[in-house]
């Protein structure tokens, strides 16, 4: 029994990436966004002698475009950092859009626009919390894999939303609600301002509070987090409820913007929201990610989508491009894992 021969399982020193590679890795989302914008700008200038990004209408459109995926994505950021995934957000959003429309239609004639909106929003948020609670319970207590648990809730929320909507869209008439969806303050769309506010709150929660710290810790090492005496189940439950509430807010803003609630309101946004999170630098293995990164990711997705429309590419290509970008982002993340992680 000799200790002079180094055992075979000695951990090799991890390679230290050089500073500029680390910088590129941490700034890759910014760089990608800048390249995209530059690319569309060049295309617009050469093809139709117009400016892409210099046009305030385009910027506004991209911002409004980015709002719904971003709302889902900031909640999804917490989920993904904790090592999970929430596939149910799209239909939770649809459910909230349907509920807010129904309740606003019932309440507005009785108590007026603003109180009607408040009641409708409370109902929509209240209902959207339910899938979050179920997800959190399944994942934290019953240890159902997040992918499966939230896939089940995807089906349930979808079915219930279509049932409540009677299989169709629910028109809503409430002036306060359509102000939320279409109004603007000093030139800034209300939806954008509300989304910025939600983003700031979540940025604070994730970066500055114990809750946020434990979200990272769970994603980094769940067992160590349990051992540190942290109520991991409670934190996990709150993560999924937070994600569902973000989706609920997204549903309310959708109903405001289109004056109608639709069960399929958030259907295409699941892909966009996960794309925003992983493009923004979060790892699907958990443990890393930021709200700022997710913001950039959501802007990238919105620029791709809006830019493709702008340069007259068939709309369905958007899905193809966003899907490819997700895969590339995950590949980049994996390759970094192998070579010792550099981003944080």
């Amino acid at each position: 029994m000799s200790v002079t021969a180094a055992p075979a399982h000695v951990r090799p020193p991890e390679p230290r990436p050089s500073a500029w590679i680390a910088w590129v890795a941490s700034a890759r989302a910014w760089l990608f966004l800048a390249l995209l914008v530059a690319g569309f700008e060049v295309w617009a200038q050469t093809s139709f002698q117009a400016t892409f990004i210099g046009n305030i209408f385009n910027i506004r459109s991209i911002a409004v475009f980015a709002v719904a995926p971003l709302l889902l994505a900031i909640g999804q950021t917490f989920v993904i950092i904790s090592g999970g995934i929430d596939l149910s957000v799209g239909f939770t959003m649809g459910l909230a859009a349907v509920v807010v429309s129904h309740v606003a239609n019932l309440a507005t004639p009785v108590i007026g626009d603003v109180p009607g909106l408040i009641v409708a929003c409370a109902a929509a948020i209240g209902v959207s919390i339910i899938p979050g609670l179920v997800n959190g319970f399944l994942i934290a207590w019953l240890r159902v894999p997040p992918f499966i648990g939230t896939l089940g809730m995807f089906g349930v929320a979808r079915g219930v939303a279509f049932l409540l909507a009677g299989g169709t869209t629910v028109p809503v008439s409430n002036d306060a609600l359509s102000y939320l969806g279409n109004g603007s303050i000093a030139g800034f769309p209300v939806v954008v301002l509300l989304t910025i506010a939600a983003m700031l709150v979540l940025h604070y929660l994730l970066g500055q509070t114990r809750f946020g710290q434990y979200v990272y810790a769970i994603g980094g090492n769940r067992a160590a987090t349990v051992r540190a005496g942290i109520n991991v189940r409670g934190v996990t439950l709150r993560i999924y409820v937070l994600s569902a509430v973000c989706a609920g807010i997204g549903g309310i803003l959708y109903a405001g913007r289109f004056s109608a609630g639709a069960a399929q309101a958030g259907e295409p946004l699941l892909l966009d929201s996960i794309a925003a999170v992983v493009i923004g630098g979060a790892s699907l293995f958990g443990g890393s990610g930021t709200i700022v990164g997710t913001l950039i990711g959501a802007l990238i997705v919105a620029v791709i989508q809006y830019g493709l429309v702008f340069i007259d590419v068939e709309a369905f290509w958007q899905f193809v491009v966003v899907g490819v970008v997700i895969i590339i982002s995950v590949l980049v993340d994996q390759s970094q894992r192998k070579g010792g992680r550099v981003d944080e």
Binding site: V3, V10, T209, R210, Y216, N221, A224, R227, I230, G287
Partner: protein
């Protein structure tokens, strides 16, 4: 060190059965302040069952545990930790994606206020973690990097530093030197000596007899759930210990 020699932890006539299997039967165990006791035994000897009882993972079927002269019943591992009985696990210890300060303070983050909002005081976590690690002579160049950038031995040291920071009186180390390179093993053994000097009692589980002899003051051997003997390390020789282990 005035506390040296005082009995820190005493387990008397501990028995534990799992189904029909006697994992432990009337096992006695004693640990003094500033003492390193190596717990030796073959697989299935009951080492980990005893450790789990001492660290609150499950209660004994019979027998009692006294800690600092007071009879205790541990409800769960958290209870043991708050009393100052810490278990250092090789892999379960740290969240790789957090920095050293965040790991040392995990679950007990100090808060401060910024712009009227309560925020985690990261600077304080880093400074206090650095101070604790310094007193243990654990030199880390960067405390603001995720601990995944650290070597296995450095992580082990951070885990031990965390336990010490939170006033652990008893540290249970399960194979603390496994999976470490030789210089790292030395570092951990040196750290154990430094903890000893502070009056911490250490229960040291290892399969490596050389480490056991290098680090411990006393060797307690279990065999098939019963006390098989114990020796002061200075008076023991490896062959004798192996004989006690295998019977």
């Amino acid at each position: 060190m005035s506390e040296n020699g005082a009995v820190l932890l005493e387990a008397r006539k501990i028995s534990k059965r799992f189904g029909g299997v006697h994992a432990l039967e009337d096992v006695d165990f004693r640990l003094h302040a500033g003492e390193v006791v190596a717990l030796a035994g073959d697989n299935g000897a009951g080492k980990s069952t005893l450790i789990k009882i001492i660290s609150g993972v499950f209660p004994p079927d019979s027998g009692e545990i006294a800690f600092q002269g007071e009879q205790i019943a541990l409800a769960n591992p958290q209870d043991a930790r708050t009393r100052g009985i810490e278990t250092i696990y090789q892999d379960l210890a740290l969240a790789d994606n957090l920095d050293v300060g965040a790991n040392v303070f995990l679950g007990r983050e100090p808060m401060t206020r910024r712009f009227g909002l309560p925020v985690i005081d990261r600077r304080r976590m880093r400074q206090e973690a650095a101070r604790t690690l310094d007193t243990l002579d654990i030199g880390l160049d960067r405390l603001d990097r995720p601990v995944r950038a650290l070597s296995g031995g450095q992580r082990q040291c951070v885990a031990i530093g965390r336990a010490l920071h939170w006033q652990a009186r008893v540290m249970i180390m399960d194979e603390p030197t496994a999976a470490l390179g030789v210089p790292e093993q030395r570092k951990v053994l040196a750290l154990i000596h430094s903890l000893k000097a502070r009056g911490v009692g250490i229960i040291f589980i290892s399969h490596n007899l050389q480490d056991i002899f290098a680090a411990s003051d006393r060797i307690v051997v279990l065999r098939r759930g019963v006390n098989a003997g114990e020796r002061a390390t200075a008076d023991a020789n490896p062959d004798e210990v192996v004989r006690m282990m295998v019977g």
